[in-house]
């Protein structure tokens, strides 16, 4: 009975965890008379298309840390398909989430953790109303 009581604690220590969450920020934008997009890549580059202007810096990919203290070191990252940002105007869609390093991998001992960055694309409508827009997206990490 004593051995069985100890077992759950061992499994808890092996739990896969996501920590050190840093938000994904698209920074300052000016919407134009035509729709456009702003992409912040997981490598940290910002680019635009269409009628959107990004200025003043302040954009950054999200980041988080996967830790697997022990047990199976393999992991797979599942990202949201899309997210909605709400604010003063109509909501904006964020999609095309991607990570660096991509997809899946395994954590090598003895560090037991892996830092990840996440980029995505924000779709901005023509004449998008000014203001701060925010939302969330889910990241799931599984270990077989």
């Amino acid at each position: 009975v004593a051995a069985l009581l100890f077992l759950p604690w061992t499994l808890c220590a092996a739990a896969i965890q996501i920590t050190n969450n840093v938000p994904l920020t698209f920074g300052n934008l000016i919407s134009g008379t035509s729709a456009g997009t702003v992409n912040v890549s997981s490598s940290g580059a910002t680019s635009t298309s269409g009628g959107v202007i990004a200025f003043g810096g302040g954009s950054a990919p999200a980041s988080f840390t996967i830790s697997i203290p022990q047990g199976n070191p393999n992991y797979t990252v599942l990202l949201a398909i899309s997210a909605n940002l709400t604010g003063p105007g109509s909501s904006m869609v964020v999609d095309s989430f991607e990570t660096t390093p991509a997809g899946s991998g395994h954590i090598r001992p003895p560090t037991g953790f892996q830092d990840m960055t996440v980029g995505a694309t924000l779709h901005v409508a023509a004449n998008q109303a000014p203001g701060i827009y925010s939302g969330t997206f889910d990241v799931t990490v599984t270990s077989p």
Partner: protein, 174 residues
């Protein structure tokens, strides 16, 4: 005695189930990460007329020529002016959406005019409307005309020729 054994088995079964449930839950972690974007209103400034000091004569002493944002021209020292044709710069500030208030940033130091005979400095930029703490107002997607004047410093015996340069005006939506 018999009943005691049964009780122990029940406890063992419960403990065995608990670790399996825990294992299934621990192999996956989900976190919600926030996303933010700041859409600012659209503001633009376009140059419509260049600042022109027009024709002038340098003297045996240094001097200056000022073209004010209100459209007047004056001189100091050994510089004198010839004819007309001078004009302050003119800009159009347009705010397409968002906060209709804006501020203006003019060059703080000097800019250099270069030409065949060397270079000259232009400084003391000022605008109409403008001034310390000025906040412009262009409501309803409107635009506003802003004129900019400055002072040209003419060294003694400055070589004859045409001199030109550029300066930058920045408008900031509040």
């Amino acid at each position: 005695m018999t009943s005691r054994i049964f009780a122990s088995l029940a406890v063992l079964a419960g403990l065995l189930v608990a670790p399996l449930t825990a294992t299934a839950a621990q192999n996956s972690a989900t976190q919600s990460i926030s996303v933010a974007a700041n859409v600012v209103g659209g503001i633009s400034v376009a140059s419509t007329v260049d600042l022109d000091f027009a024709s002038l004569l340098s003297g045996t002493t240094a001097g200056s020529v000022t073209v004010s944002s209100s459209g007047t021209r004056s001189t100091t020292g050994g510089a004198s002016t010839v004819g007309g044709g001078f004009t302050p710069a003119s800009f159009q500030v347009s705010i397409t959406q968002g906060n209709p208030h804006y501020s203006i940033q003019l060059p703080v130091g000097s800019v250099t005019l270069s030409g065949t005979g060397g270079s000259m400095l232009v400084d003391t930029f000022e605008s109409t409307p403008g001034g310390p703490g000025f906040v412009g107002f262009a409501p309803g997607g409107g635009s506003q005309v802003m004129t900019v004047g400055a002072t040209l410093h003419v060294p003694a015996n400055q070589a004859a020729g045409s001199y030109s340069g550029t300066f930058t005006v920045t408008v900031i939506q509040q």
